[in-house]
């Protein structure tokens, strides 16, 4: 029993779960009864994309990479989706094409980082500019709409809670499958130490490649959810998402140096970021300083969660082995 508890505490996502629960309680105190059906539907609609793309990003981060093309890929999918639905194509066909485009983006990222060995952050900066450029080319100004039938289905699913829950479920199940598979173990191994994994016979380049493709698939699903929620096309719709997703991953206990973390933690981190905005709106009444307050809160959350995670990892590590420390 005790060892189970310690295992739970040592779970990288534990600290972000604590943060999530405490934010829920704080919000309940500040504005009692806020957690109604309308709030949940709205919250999942607007923050769902961030939660889902954070889980996707965590795959890349765990394998020791970095991806700042999240917003580029999501904008491209958004624009493709709307352009196709304007032309009156069948919904299933649209979704298939969107997923193919997302896979293509992931393949480009993976090819350049994995097989051509260019520094991840710079590669994904360049590809981000490539993807968002194509998106802006296809749709220079915001327009378009989503088919009525799809919109009705989206809002009425599960007794009015909305389809984001379905998308979220797909993503979470996908994450668990990846985590439990052989590939998942390889992702962690490559992230922890590339050279050692190479020497143990793992095809490091292929694992890196696959991590970017899988992440792009996750972003695609989250972009489809986002587009249906906004029901419109805009090439700059996801512009702030990358930075928020990275922050969410760090809050969720994913180490940027790779090898440690859990996608569920990233999801908790992203949810906390969304809840923190509700908290800030309740405390800071001056509209012009709300951005500043949420920035400060984010910084404090990052510092606090990282330090706590490291403290726990050192305190409860097996046989004194330091698991969760930054590599020097």
């Amino acid at each position: 029993m005790k060892s189970k508890l310690i295992n739970f505490i040592r779970w990288p996502a534990f600290v972000s779960l604590v943060l999530l629960v405490s934010l829920l309680i704080i919000n309940q105190i500040l504005s009692p009864g806020y957690l109604n059906k309308a709030y949940i539907t709205n919250f999942l609609g607007s923050n769902g994309p961030l939660i889902m793309s954070s889980i996707g990003l965590s795959i890349v981060l765990i394998s020791g990479g970095m991806d700042i093309s999240v917003d580029g890929i999501m904008s491209l999918i958004n624009v493709v989706y709307i352009t196709l639905s304007e032309s009156g194509m069948q919904t299933i066909l649209i979704l298939v094409i969107c997923i193919l485009v997302g896979l293509f983006c992931g393949i480009i990222n993976g090819l350049f980082v994995g097989y051509l060995r260019i520094t991840p952050i710079l590669t994904t900066f360049a590809t981000s500019s490539l993807f968002s450029g194509i998106a802006l080319w296809i749709m220079p100004s915001p327009r378009g709409s989503v088919p009525k039938g799809l919109l009705n289905w989206y809002y009425s699913w599960l007794g009015g809670f909305g389809a984001p829950i379905l998308f979220l479920l797909i993503i979470v199940i996908g994450w668990f499958i990846i985590r439990k598979s052989k590939l998942g173990i390889m992702l962690y191994a490559v992230g922890a130490n590339k050279e050692n994994s190479y020497l143990s016979g793992i095809n490091v380049y292929r694992v890196q490649f696959i991590s970017y493709v899988l992440a792009a698939l996750f972003y695609t699903i989250s972009a489809i959810s986002m587009t249906t929620y906004f029901s419109g096309g805009d090439a700059t719709v996801a512009s702030a998402l990358t930075m928020k997703a990275i922050t969410a991953c760090v809050i969720g206990g994913v180490l940027l140096s790779g090898g440690v973390g859990d996608g569920i933690g990233a999801a908790f981190g992203a949810t906390s970021l969304g809840l923190a905005i509700t908290t800030v709106l309740a405390i800071v009444k001056n509209a012009f300083f709300q951005d500043f307050a949420s920035g400060v809160l984010m910084l404090i959350a990052v510092i606090g969660c990282t330090l706590l995670n490291r403290y726990i990892a050192n305190k409860f590590s097996k046989k004194g082995v330091v698991i969760n420390a930054e590599k020097d």
Partner: protein
């Protein structure tokens, strides 16, 4: 003598790719649109690149400091200085006398907070500076209420006007600054210590260097340079808006890397960043004169950047 030649070789090896790219781009530009290499156009591009060069100086200091150092808050600090700095002067030249130093010091302090979080708490630089950027952006919105600033001192506006022949005043100032900072980085005691910290922090610590102080100062310099670049940008553009310098963050990282400074630290210099900045703005300029739509231009920029990186900065193979 021999050592000197070796050292020169290394400098040539670092700068050669970007110089070749610059020459190629000038040639391509001239073929696509005759008159592209006229003195006026080239010096205009150099003037645009000068603003980015100031940011690159700071970014180079941070990258050299190692430990995957990167400063993602420079764009926000630039926007903040560009918006708030000139509006503090009420459009009077004399106001610059105190508004510029105040913003340089404020910038330095922001950088010091960045550095302290990174060194003391051992947090990843990327995330700390990202969050700091959001904080600084929030402050800018809070103080300006999102209004653009139009009262700009005449002295700042002079920066973009041709001065010496076709050379802009800003370019001359930046070249002087560039050489001073390169000298500071390569010859001063602090600069040498920074290189050692970048190559191996543990060795630097064991040699009795105050690693934390040295690295924190490098972040301070980066943020200070970003504040200075904000003033230069508003002088060149002529007006300031919210988030006007956001893209400078990643542009500065890219140009410093194109200029031969590695992201892993301990290597590089300041002048490479200037060459990289020139490459990036040359590319933008060529694509702009072709008359492509905005989206296509941004897309092709990304593609070319990818090719440049492929030629310039690949990591070593795992198999030895």
């Amino acid at each position: 003598m021999l050592r000197k030649i070796n050292k020169n070789n290394e400098i040539i090896r670092n700068f050669l790719p970007s110089i070749i790219i610059i020459v190629l781009m000038l040639l391509v530009g001239n073929i696509l649109t005759p008159g592209f290499t006229s003195a006026n156009n080239v010096f205009n591009i150099i003037c645009k690149a000068s603003v980015l060069t100031i940011v690159c100086i700071g970014q180079a200091f941070v990258m050299i400091s190692g430990n995957s150092g990167i400063d993602m808050s420079v764009g926000s600090i630039m926007s903040c200085a560009a918006l708030l700095g000139p509006s503090m002067t009420q459009g009077q030249n004399i106001g610059l006398l105190w508004s510029l130093p105040i913003f340089l010091i404020l910038g330095f302090l922001v950088g010091v907070i960045n550095g302290l979080c990174i060194q003391k708490f051992r947090l990843p630089a990327l995330v700390v500076t990202l969050c700091m950027g959001i904080v600084v952006d929030g402050l800018t919105i809070g103080f300006t209420h999102g209004k653009p600033s139009l009262k700009i001192p005449d002295l700042l506006l002079e920066l973009g006007i041709p001065y010496l022949g076709r050379m802009r005043l800003l370019t001359i100032i930046v070249i002087v600054l560039l050489f001073l900072m390169e000298l500071f980085l390569q010859k001063s005691k602090y600069g040498r210590q920074l290189f050692l910290c970048g190559s191996n922090q543990n060795v630097a610590r064991l040699s009795g260097l105050r690693v934390n102080v040295i690295v924190v100062i490098s972040y301070g310099i980066s943020a200070m340079m970003a504040a200075l670049a904000g003033f230069a940008l508003v002088g060149y553009v002529g007006s300031a808006q919210l988030f006007m310098a956001d893209e400078y963050t990643m542009l500065s990282v890219a140009s410093v890397v194109i200029g031969g400074t590695s992201l892993s630290g301990g290597k590089g210099g300041v002048i490479g960043g200037a060459l990289g900045a020139f490459v990036l703005f040359l590319l933008t300029s060529i694509l702009t004169v072709l008359g492509l739509p905005d989206g296509a231009r941004i897309g092709i920029e990304g593609l070319v950047l990818l090719l440049i990186l492929m030629a310039n900065s690949r990591e070593s193979k795992l198999r030895i």
